[in-house]
């Protein structure tokens, strides 16, 4: 598939998503209250303007793509197509799992240590010291900084009542 076709396909998909959001989600997700009748902007005005702006910008992009006119330097150099997206997807899954469950179950300290160990392994580190000791040291430092330094109570382990970590 050529770059131009890929661009048209992307724009078409994004326009469809934006329109579906504007028609299907936006009216249901905003409670107008009584403000919609009063002076000034209604609660839905700013989100509506934002979605309309997105749709117009996408339509403009589509016109440019169809006509074969394209801008010079989109941040392609900053975001090269990755050689190993699966590793990033693995990291995403680990992070989301710990944000959703891990920190609640294990507490921040233990959860952080396990999360850091899994990520270090995922990134190809195999030395025991770096896989085990560095995550423990880092998490101990972070825990001490926030709990003792800033007096911010981080989540504690839920599975052992009374565990201070």
């Amino acid at each position: 598939m050529t770059d131009r076709r890929r661009e048209i396909l992307l724009l078409g998909t994004l326009i469809a998503i934006t329109l579906a959001f504007a028609v299907g989600v936006l009216p249901m997700a905003i409670d107008e209250g009584f403000g919609g009748q009063g002076p000034g902007l209604s609660p839905s005005a700013m989100p509506g303007l934002a979605v309309a702006g997105m749709a117009l910008a996408l339509a403009y992009g589509l016109v440019l793509a169809v006509l074969g006119i394209k801008p010079g330097t989109d941040a392609a150099a900053e975001h090269p197509r990755g050689a190993h997206p699966l590793r990033a997807i693995g990291a995403v899954l680990i992070c989301l799992t710990f944000a959703q469950l891990g920190f609640k179950l294990l507490g921040f300290y233990l959860g952080g240590v396990v999360m850091a160990m899994l990520l270090t392994l995922l990134l190809g580190e195999r030395q025991i010291f770096k896989v085990l000791v560095i995550p423990m040291l880092v998490c101990t430092l972070i825990y001490a900084l926030f709990e003792l330094g800033f007096q911010i109570r981080l989540p504690k382990a839920g599975f052992i009542p009374g565990l201070p970590l």
Binding site: G40, P71, G72, D74, R81, G82, L96, F98, V138
Partner: protein, 509 residues
């Protein structure tokens, strides 16, 4: 005169100097931690300041704010992770320079520009607090709407890629900024019944997610051997780690212009350092002899946003000290600390009890000198801090970011949001959308919406737009200036040949 001398001697006391030194060191250290903003750093110190003598606590807080602004640029340059939104513009040129092995030069540029901008605005604060505040205080909601729309336009024109991608990103930021309870009538918007979203999306998870986590995910796609390499390789050549006298001299016009932008922007309550940094960056690029170097490690591209965002820190105290009105979150925190210590800033303070005001002015100038000296020593340490392999650093960054996102509101939901934004930013990057514009759109939305609503109510009560504009000379002048600047920006963009037919330049995109 007597009050001025008394104020200076107060700020030169051992306790005040100790406060300044401790504040700068703590500020630089805390600012360099991704996710801990300058406002957070000052907020953390406010309760402690009560236990100190006023002339330890107040200089320490002012110094901490200055130190944290400089410190927050370190992760922006070395990790592409701005410690505060104001440092986001520094990433654009700072990170490419660091990736080219010239991280030392980039950090010295930041230090030079930060201290220059800070000192410039402090001097402006001292010389013209009353006059500048009098202009800023005449700005109403309509002037704010105009300024913000202009800021957004210049941000889209700043985008190196297609303007439609920039527009989509900025509108998406506005949409995300609308999540939460309506700011005026309090009805739910896009919360889907989730009470965690009633207060809106937190700035910290948004910032860390889009600017730091997405970058980590992007870099994780690299081959394993690249992940075993050090994060940033520093060149061993002296010229790559220092800023020469000639380079310092060449940066002066950019520094003066950017400091002036930052000073004026800082005097306007609410606009803040981020807007100043981006406007200054755009102006530097617009007036540069080699605009094509911007985005690829230009020293002017680093110096402009740094001078501007640091210049804001001095001038945003203008409305605070002259009128008792805090211009932003950090100024509000400083106001709280001054009140704790029994000092009430405002016009009466200048007349009735000017010594503390002059002592604050003097302490701010001294803090700049200390910031430069401590910063000079801090740079080699910062270089060492990031010279670790990515596969060891990134897991630590992800855990630290989780703690930072959790700390602000004590909510695991913010940690989940942060990672969700990280994924969103990573995908946007793959589709070549500029995530920085989304973040800026998000930051500007509350003030834009509030001002737009107030403007419309004022227009309705003025019987239409023309009588409304006609009754506001400041708005008319601003309209003229911004229209002229808009034309100049659009002309510049057209001149740079952004739109080219693909067959003419097949290597592009």
């Amino acid at each position: 005169m007597e009050a001025i001398l008394e104020g200076i001697s107060l700020s030169l006391s051992l306790s005040a100097l100790t406060g300044i030194l401790v504040g700068i060191v703590l500020g630089q250290f805390l600012g360099s931690i991704p996710g801990l903003t300058a406002a957070m750093a000052v907020a953390l110190l406010v309760p402690f300041s009560f236990y100190f003598d006023p002339w330890v606590g107040i200089p320490m807080m002012l110094a901490m704010f200055k130190g944290s602004l400089f410190g927050s640029s370190m992760p922006a340059i070395l990790l592409r992770t701005p410690g505060t939104p104001a440092a986001a513009a520094t990433v654009i040129d700072g990170n490419p320079l660091a990736l080219a092995g010239k991280g030392g030069k980039a950090m010295h540029t930041v230090l030079y520009a930060s201290v220059f901008g800070d000192a410039f605005s402090d001097i402006c604060l001292i010389l013209g607090a009353g006059a500048l505040a009098a202009i800023a205080i005449r700005f109403g909601p309509s002037e704010y709407v105009l300024l913000i729309l202009f800021a957004m336009l210049s941000l889209v024109s700043l985008n190196r890629g297609s303007s439609w991608r920039g527009l989509v990103a900025i509108f998406m930021g506005v949409l995300i900024g609308c999540i939460g309870l309506d700011p005026i009538i309090g009805t739910e918007r896009l919360t889907f019944g989730n009470p965690e979203l009633f207060e809106g999306i937190g700035l910290i998870p948004m910032l860390i997610g889009f600017l730091a986590i997405s970058e980590v995910f992007r870099q994780l796609e690299q081959p394993l051997h690249r992940l075993a390499e050090k994060t940033i390789q520093f060149s061993t050549k002296r010229e790559d780690n220092h800023l020469s006298g000639a380079e310092r001299l060449a940066l002066l016009p950019t520094l003066f212009r950017s400091s002036a932008i930052g000073t004026v922007t800082g005097a306007l309550p609410g606009l803040g350092a981020t807007v100043a940094a981006f406007i200054a960056y755009n102006e530097a690029r617009r007036t540069a002899k080699k605009p094509e170097e911007f985005g690829h490690g230009s020293l002017h591209g680093i110096a402009a946003p740094e001078a501007a965002n640091n210049a804001v820190s001095g001038s945003n105290l203008i409305p605070l000290l002259a009128f008792g009105i805090p211009g932003d979150v950090a100024a509000a925190l400083i106001l709280g600390a001054l009140l704790i210590q029994g000092i009430t800033p405002g016009p009466l303070a200048f007349r009735d009890n000017p010594v503390p005001i002059y002592a604050i002015f003097s302490a701010m100038l001294l803090a700049n000198v200390v910031n430069y000296l401590v910063g000079f020593a801090f740079i080699p340490l910062a270089k060492r801090m990031v010279s670790v392999p990515k596969r060891v650093l990134f897991p630590a960054v992800l855990v630290f970011a989780s703690a930072g996102a959790y700390a602000m509101r004590g909510s695991l939901f913010d940690v989940q949001l942060m990672f969700a934004f990280g994924v969103m930013g990573w995908l946007m990057g793959k589709l070549r959308f500029p995530t920085i514009l989304l973040v800026i759109g998000f930051i500007l939305t509350p003030i834009l919406e509030r001002s737009a609503r107030q403007t419309l109510i004022l227009v309705e009560s003025s019987d239409g737009w023309l009588p409304f504009i006609g009754s506001r000379p400041v708005l008319m002048i601003l309209l003229g200036i911004l229209a002229l600047l808009t034309v100049l920006i659009l002309r510049q963009r057209m001149k740079m040949g952004r739109y080219t037919l693909p067959q003419q330049s097949p290597d592009q995109d």
